[in-house]
Every structure is written in structure tokens, then in C-alpha cells.
């Protein structure tokens, strides 16, 4: 299993990056920063291209005239009504899986795992919990700045070691 939790902050700046097991290619710090910025943008776009399904009753009189695309603009719904549209949450490639978890305050956690790793949600929840405990409750952590909290590193490492 290999995992990189990368909390990126609200503006897309990388604030933490750690590799637990080799598996992906090593990148320079700068590349990781660029990657985080790119992902931040892509994440926003993936939300905006959510298919919009026209609502059936409102469209019936207008749509019979060909060539107009009027109905789509007024009333539409998302495929999963009731669930707010999010950006990318899970990406699958031949070599790894990427899980993205966005907190209510906009911080994103990116976890890269081996395709065979199960229970990614559990790992993500635990990371979030540790982040809330050892980063957010630390008086020496400045918001939006890179995370340098020794207790966070220690507990995260210990927990993941205990799992494998």
C-alpha cells in the first residue's frame, strides 16, 4: 500500500505532503505544489461539468420547436437530486487510486493508494481526525501555512504502521 495524504488548503496551496511507501514516482517539492494547484482547478471544473437534466414538465411546450435549447437554461436537476454536486472524489488509473475528500471548510485531502488497498474511506476519516486533533488544536499552527506538527506526523505514521 502506498499513500500520500496531501491536505491542500482552500486556495489550492499544498500544506502537507508525505509519502508512506514508495510506489509512485518521486517528484520535486515544486512539482507537488504545481500538482496541487492544477488539481485544485480541475476539481472546480469537474463540478461545473455535472450533467444538467432538464426538468420534464417545464419543458413540454417549448421543446417542440426545433433548434432552441431554451429548456435547459431554466429548470434542471442534477442526476442525484438531494446530493450537492461535488468535484472529483475518486479517480482510478492502472497503477493507483486517488481519493479526494473535501472538508466543509474547503480543505482537500488527497490520498493516493494502491488499487488493491481497501477501506480507503476509513483511512481518510482517520487522517481527517488526526488532522483535526493534532494540527487544528495546535496553537503553533498558523492557518493556511505548511503543516509542521511533529505530533501529527508521529500519530499518522504510527496509525498507518499499525494497519499494515
Amino acid at each position: 500500500m502506498c499513500a500520500h495524504p496531501n491536505p491542500t488548503d482552500r486556495a489550492g496551496g499544498l500544506i502537507y505532503q508525505r509519502e508512506f511507501q514508495a510506489g509512485l514516482r518521486k517528484l520535486s517539492t515544486n512539482d507537488y505544489l504545481v500538482l496541487a494547484g492544477t488539481f485544485h482547478g480541475v476539481h472546480a471544473i469537474t463540478r461545473s461539468i455535472t450533467p444538467k437534466l432538464p426538468l420534464a414538465p417545464s419543458t413540454s411546450p417549448v421543446a417542440s420547436s426545433p433548434g432552441t435549447t431554451a429548456p435547459a437554461t431554466s429548470g434542471y436537476s442534477y442526476p442525484n437530486p438531494g446530493v450537492p454536486a461535488t468535484g472529483l472524489e475518486f479517480l482510478e488509473t492502472d497503477k493507483f487510486h486517488l481519493t479526494c475528500f473535501q472538508t466543509l471548510t474547503g480543505t482537500k485531502f488527497l490520498l493516493f493508494t494502491d488499487p488493491l488497498t481497501g477501506n480507503v474511506d476509513t483511512i481518510m476519516n482517520k487522517i481527517y481526525e488526526l488532522y483535526a486533533d493534532y494540527v487544528m488544536k495546535n496553537p503553533f499552527y498558523q492557518l493556511e501555512m505548511p503543516v509542521r506538527c511533529e505530533a501529527f506526523d508521529r500519530h499518522l505514521g504510527a496509525w498507518l504502521r499499525g494497519r499494515t
Partner: protein
Amino acid sequence: MAAPPRHVSMLSISNSNTGAPQSASSDKPQTPQPSPSPQPTSGLRVPSNRKTIYDRHLNRSRNAELSRASFAYLFAEMVTYAQRRVTGIQDLEKRLNEQGYPLGLRLLDLLFYRSTSTSSSALSSSSTSSSPPNRPLRILPLLHLIHGPLWRLLFQRSADALEHSVSPDTPNEYMITDNDPLVNTYISVPREMNMLNCAAFIAGIIEGVCDGCGFEAKVSAHNQPTEMWPSRTVFLLRFGDSVMEREKVLERNGVK
């Protein structure tokens, strides 16, 4: 001892706290306010039956638990507050110590109150040898009081070790060890401040308790991490000369 200013600040705090509910409740007959329904004043909220925390029996919240998270956030803010315009690590530790000191003074009363009222039942498991007198007169009972009952009141467990300095030059030094201080659970001190230990706040509480008992002392917190306990902290208690002299007299007279 810098006690007077500490007392002043602590009094003013308690006045403002207790003052708010009183004035709010006594408002009713005097001032005919146009909107009597919800009080627009923010700040302390007073329950409708006027039972504030001050009206409650002191033993009622004896076994009450406090959210560890809310304490952690509160303490983090306290550290941040203490950090403003400090000149260095020692200054910061001094401020944290000063925040804990009045707490220690007041806790002492509560501690005595609770330990006497239930001494018959709770004493069986306690580590203190005899039924505690209302106030320890010698150093050792005081240290046991801190190590046991005070620690249990604060953290629901005893401290992990109690030692006397082995060096003959410093007979007035005692050490109380906590393997994992509650206040430091979520704190990672930046590398450039690695001498800092935020448990200086606890040291302040201990200092307050010692002073309240009439033992002049300086207490400081020191990092002594081990492999197993990365945030292990030693509280160093240095008693003043007057205390040591009194100790000798009391020993000669056989006071325990």
C-alpha cells in the same frame, strides 16, 4: 512574590462574571424596558430558572466530564494569547505560569472541600497515607496532595512519579513527573522553540496550590521525552529558604 497583581486580575474577572447575571436579573423591576422578552445582551447566558453554575452544589459537578476537544481549543487559544508580544520562550512560559497560578489558588479550596466531605468513602483507594488534614504542614504531605488528589481532580489520574532531588546541593528541589500531560496532547512545539513546554500552565497551577498552602515555591515544567512517552514532562518544584527552615523546625518538633 508577585501575588497582589494576580489577585487583582482574578478578582476583577470573577466580578465581571458574577455581575452579569445579577444585573440582568435585577433589571426587571427597575427599568421598564420596551422589549422584555429575549435579552439582547450577548455574553453570559442565564438559564430561565436563574440557576447559574454558582447556585449549584459544589459536589454536584464532582464527576462531571469536560469535552477534551473544547478544552484543547480553549487551551490553544490561551497559548496563542500568551504568545502575543512575548520577548522569548521564558517570557511565554512565565505568562502561561501566571495564567495557571490563580487557578491553583482557587482549586485548592475546592480540593479541600471535596476531599473532606467525602473523605470516608474516597480515601480507601487514595495513595495518601492518613486522612488528610485540612492543610498540609510539611512538604511531603503537600507533594502527596499534588501528586494524588490534585492530579485526580484535574486529570482523573495520579501523576506518574514523585522524586526528591538526589543532589545534596539542592535539598529543596522535588520533581513530579507526568508521562503524557493533558495540555500537551495536541501540541507540537516548533523546532526553533524546542525548549518550550506549554505545561508551564500546569506548573503555574502547582505553584498556586503550594502558595495557597503557605509553601513559597517556584515551579517550572521541563521536557524529558522518552521513546515511549514523547511528551513526558517533569515539574520541578523549588521551595524557598523560609519553607526549608520551617521544615527543619517542624521536624524537630515532631509535627507531621
